[in-house]
Amino acid sequence: MTVSNPYTLTMELTHRCPLRCLYCSNPLELVRADNELLVEEWLSIIDQAAKLSVVQANLTGGEPLAYAGLPRIIERLKKHDIYSNLITSGIGLTEMVVSELISCGLESIQISIQSASSQTAQLIAGRDAQQQKLAALKLVANSKLPLALNVVLHRHNLHEVAEIIDLAHSLGVKRLELANTQYYGFAAANMEHLLPTQQQMSDALVVYETKKNQLQGKMHLSWIIGDYIESSPKPCMGGWASQHMVISVNGTAYPCLAASAIKTLSFPSTKENTLEWIWKESPAFNAFRGFDWMVEPCRTCEFREKDLGGCRCQAFLLAGDAAQADPVCKLSPHHDLVKEKIAAAESNAVISKEQLIYRM
């Protein structure tokens, strides 16, 4: 099978972060600072990625601003004409840092807030950072750097969608991404506290559609659909190892940010292998390409080319086997597991703070 080249490289520069979000996408086992890649190692990865025709890079963490080599990494991406996007909490963004990022060639920045209210933001992030974040947003909105605001949605802020959109508009934000929680890593561990009711979700969508129409041409709004809502699965990342490549803090390569959850695969390291070998030849990246790996009901399903059997990580996390159909699919023999989670969300009472699992 010919393997076409990846478009996007996501670089997890560090797992260090000032925040402790309940839905953090980092794996439960965080990589320590002394195991982080050196900046020279990242530069070599970028050179190799350019040869593989990568055209876009996401710089993430943890908090990528905490990684000292960040400016050199951005400069190297610029040298290869790779579009660079920094995904940050906004903590540590000063006017000086913003000017430096611009002069290095950064092309866009994404800042997240947890809520329109400081109190809820603190519950989610495990720390009071709202004022710092709003200040960072204002700073960037008034700079030349293209800005997107990201807000992860769940049962504690879906009712705030109108306030969040108004807040974004008042700050001068022109791109707002409302992303429903994806249940991997810490979000999976905190699922019962985060999963919204179906009613909450449909109410919020009505508000979103109305606001989106009102703001057309003034602010671009997007809605990222969540897990456990649809009864048809979403194709994972446009297909396993078909467009994206993630390099983690210590150099381990994955087809997506959540894939380290799949314990039955051995993921290759950039310390021992070239990016080209990892992408084209490594067993982990080839494990779920094409259709031969599929079992029933996917193998003979009429939708298999549309949804590719859904998310491999969800299949592993819920059904214990990454080759199974995504249990979100109503045709999956494990679909009852998803229905149980949804039913539990409907009956969940107020959460008790002691049960929350914050990342360290």
Binding site: N5, Y7, T8, S53, V55, Q56, N58, D81, Y83, N85, E107, S108, Q110, P146, L147, A148, G172, K174, R175, E177, Q216, G217, K218, H220, S222
Partner: protein, 96 residues
Amino acid sequence: MADGLENIVKESVLQMAHGVRLKDDEERQCKLLLMPECIVKLNHSASEVLELVDGNRTIEMIYSELAVRYEDDTLHRDLAEFLMDALSRGWIELKQ
């Protein structure tokens, strides 16, 4: 801040939205639209239109240039549809 779309007229000038750019991808032999968290692989006609969205040309000028290349009765409607779609997807915006 760009105007709302209700103010769009044929004299409106269009530009690429902030943070969005075209890239000529030699390896894949196509034009790509690069933006935060998203890449769009453009077909030939979409890239022809977007190359004319440069912050100087009005919608009318873009139409005239394409009309020279294509003698097509549906060009007017196709272009209007494409531009409205590109505006609503946040690829392009009205220049103030």
